[in-house]
């Protein structure tokens, strides 16, 4: 969550008891959190890629891609193929369900908003996108 300390603070800050030191602290938490999470997320991928590369690099030039490809496919055993199909099928099913859900949100949310606004004209919104996703500028 990015919180930029700003000298020209809006008057609402005083009402909420927010001072520059609080904003600076929030900004520090924000920066540390974002960097730690990026490090964990992509650090793991980088380690896997590096170890894979080191294992293969020592044998470079001795085998063709075709040799390795055939052996790789040999590892994909027929007995396990049901598991692969179920796994990939599950992912595809999840994706389709997600799309269906987002389509429903896009279609139904404006109606709820409109009806609620008739009762409460000052109704405030969460600010997600029309499909209920994180706004691109809010993403880490």
């Amino acid at each position: 969550v990015s919180t930029a300390p700003n000298q020209n603070r809006p008057s609402g800050d005083n009402q909420r008891g927010i001072a520059p030191k609080h904003l600076i602290r929030l900004k520090i938490i924000d920066a540390l959190d974002a960097n730690c999470r990026l490090l964990i997320k992509y650090g793991c991928l980088a380690i896997v890629a590096y170890l894979g590369y080191r294992s293969i690099a020592v044998l470079s030039g001795q085998y063709t891609f075709a040799d390795i490809g055939i052996k790789f496919l040999a590892n994909v055993r027929i007995a396990n193929s049901v598991g692969y199909v179920v796994g990939v099928g599950g992912l595809a099913y999840g994706r389709r369900q997600k799309k269906l859900r987002e389509d429903a949100i896009e279609q139904l949310a404006p109606r709820i908003k409109e009806l609620e606004a008739q009762i409460d004209p000052n109704r405030t919104s969460s600010g997600l996108t029309e499909r209920g996703r994180t706004r691109p500028e809010d993403a880490t």
Binding site: G17, H22, L26, D33, S55, N75, S126, G132
Partner: protein, 216 residues
Amino acid sequence: MNSAQQIATVLYSVVGLAALWFVAASWCAYKTEKLRQDIFHLRADLFDYAATGAVTFYNPSYRRLRTILNSMIRFAHEVSFIRVMISVLLEKFRPVMRELPNFVVHVDADRELSDEAREKMKSIHNSLMLLLVWKIMTTSLAAWPITVGSFLLHVLKHGLPKQTEVEQEKKAIRRVPAPAQQLLSNRRVKYHIQLIEQQAIETRQRKLSMAAAAAS
């Protein structure tokens, strides 16, 4: 096993680990959307309650609670165990955020509210905190050993939480499992969850100000 076979096995393992990484990322994304949906339910619950006339839509406590819920919906993807840990460590060594007013103090001071409305709002707020704790607990492997360890330490130092407090948490929301309710009876955990709320509110406020400035 010859060397070509070894390379193939390594590649096979790398692909497997990458698939595992993808599944873990998808799980976290699902939990974020689940959290958002649950908070949407809380917001609808609050709106329906206000629509009965038990509290006005202009009441400051109502507006504040709605702002908290909106902020948490928007920044649900930022709720993480790492953020809580960073906040705990920073506040332990250099406390800054303690003087900020929290929602419960605000509601208790609101004389416009009836006792029933006050309890209802506290219950919705409590449910929100339980949902945040549960999201953190179900998206971090490190969260379990560290939290269980610190909970045991807390029990050794201060004894078990009072049964009445735990019962109150249970009444607040039944969809969230008992471990989250036990955890939230720890005041320090509650305080740091409120800090996450505060961060979300401030960030949303900044973004709205920036959007308004850009539009004018």
